[in-house]
């Protein structure tokens, strides 16, 4: 059975069907991310003063990842333009760069996540709080872990600055993990710890929002990369038999990829900078 309107334009929409389909899908995606952004706004504005963490994400890395996604967007549109001009070799080159960018983005995000899973906050029984790293950089420890491991004390490398303290002028090196490194290791008796949490979703509303939104976005990057990878590899056979249909597929996958870039354009300042 032939699928209608894969290349021929419909008389009523003046578009091929896949293009209408992807735009309808993107409209639903706008509402999905819109709901998450509106949740973020409500949670952020409703947070009691001093409880919303600042400066816990690495801004240079986030900036680099933004540049990576923007680069992938230009290579996607250039690959489509190459096909339109009949240059399949250039299409392959540009999409290979796109795939490299996607892989780079996900790899960098993985390292960012890993850093959060080994970064801790300690709430002491006297009300003091501090962030830093536990000796040996264990993953996912929580208050119960201390009991399960029968630990009397932990060796802790505190950060020089806690996010609830008034911020030092930006760029002076005192703004969280990207400034200033750690102080000397201190020993904290476990009896003095009322709560211990890594920077995981359970840590705070901020990290719940951060992981929900960035993980959903990363899943989109992964999904887009799989489709682009298929069309770059085995799916490219279609170019020989039906180049116009293949070019349309590239356009549709490109529209999805640009949307993923567009979401990150808002996620980056909202989560990293504000």
């Amino acid at each position: 059975m032939d699928i209608p309107y894969t290349t021929r334009l419909r008389e009523d929409t003046n578009l091929y069907n896949a293009k209408v389909g992807i735009w309808l899908f993107l409209a639903s995606e706008v509402m999905l991310f819109g709901a998450l952004f509106s949740s973020y706004i409500l949670l952020r504005v409703g947070a009691p003063p001093g409880t919303w963490p600042h400066g816990l994400l690495n801004i240079p890395i986030g900036t680099f990842n933004t540049a990576v996604l923007i680069t992938s967007s230009i290579t996607v549109v250039m690959s489509w333009a190459s096909l339109k001009m009949g240059n399949f070799g250039k299409f392959r080159l540009f999409q290979a760069i796109t795939l490299l960018c996607a892989l780079s983005f996900l790899t960098i995000k993985t390292f960012e996540y890993r850093d959060k899973f080994t970064h801790y906050e300690v709430w002491k029984t006297d009300g003091a709080r501090m962030t830093g790293h536990i000796e040996g950089t264990p993953w996912f420890w929580k208050t119960q872990t201390l009991k399960q491991k029968n630990l009397d004390q932990i060796s802790f490398h505190p950060d020089p600055h806690h996010y609830a303290e008034p911020r030092a002028p930006r760029g002076t090196g005192a703004g969280g993990e990207h400034g200033g490194g750690h102080l000397e290791a201190i020993t904290i008796p476990t009896a003095e710890i009322s709560r211990l949490s890594a920077f995981v979703p359970a840590h705070s509303t901020y990290f719940a929002v951060y992981f929900t939104m960035t993980a959903l976005h990363a899943l989109h990057v992964l999904g887009g990369a799989i489709v682009i990878g298929y069309l770059w590899g085995p799916g490219a056979k279609l170019w020989r038999t039906d180049p116009e249909r293949f070019t349309n597929r590239i356009e549709v996958s490109g529209l999805f990829w640009h949307f993923v870039d567009l979401v990150w354009i808002f996620l980056f300042p909202v989560l990293y900078l504000l």
């Binding site: 929409t13 996607v76 339109k84 949307f259 567009l262 354009i265 504000l274």
Partner: protein
């Protein structure tokens, strides 16, 4: 086919536009980060500038990379509905913020300086 993007010469001309947009997006990213290191007294100003730059960047991506500057009416029709419902969602969000007594109270509280400061142990 009768598609505005089919003409290869037309595409070749647009490649220059794509590259210009790419550079503009990179500049926008640098400006966003530079804004972070610039100290603004008002949080509202900081948020407004960041959202404005992000909106300009998003418009460039949607307009040129996604070809919305020269699309068919059917696509615009889909987007009109999307914009309507998205705007409604955000308007309801903002409305609910001012409709909630607890949240209104937290909005009126003094900013960070008056917060119950967590004591930092060195």
């Amino acid at each position: 086919m009768d598609d505005p993007h089919d003409d290869s010469q037309h595409i070749a001309r647009h490649v220059k536009v794509y590259l210009t947009v790419f550079i503009a997006l990179l500049i926008g990213t640098v400006l966003t980060v530079a804004m972070y290191y610039q100290h603004f007294e008002s949080v509202a100003v900081t948020v407004a500038i960041a959202v404005f730059i992000a909106t300009v960047k998003a418009s460039l991506v949607a307009g040129f990379f996604m070809h919305l500057v020269s699309e068919r009416k059917a696509i615009y029709a889909i987007l009109v509905f999307t914009v309507f419902f998205f705007t409604g969602l955000m308007a309801l969000t903002i409305w609910s913020m001012h409709d909630n007594p607890d949240m209104t109270e937290s909005l009126q509280r003094a900013p960070r300086a008056a917060a119950p400061a967590a004591q930092h142990v060195p």
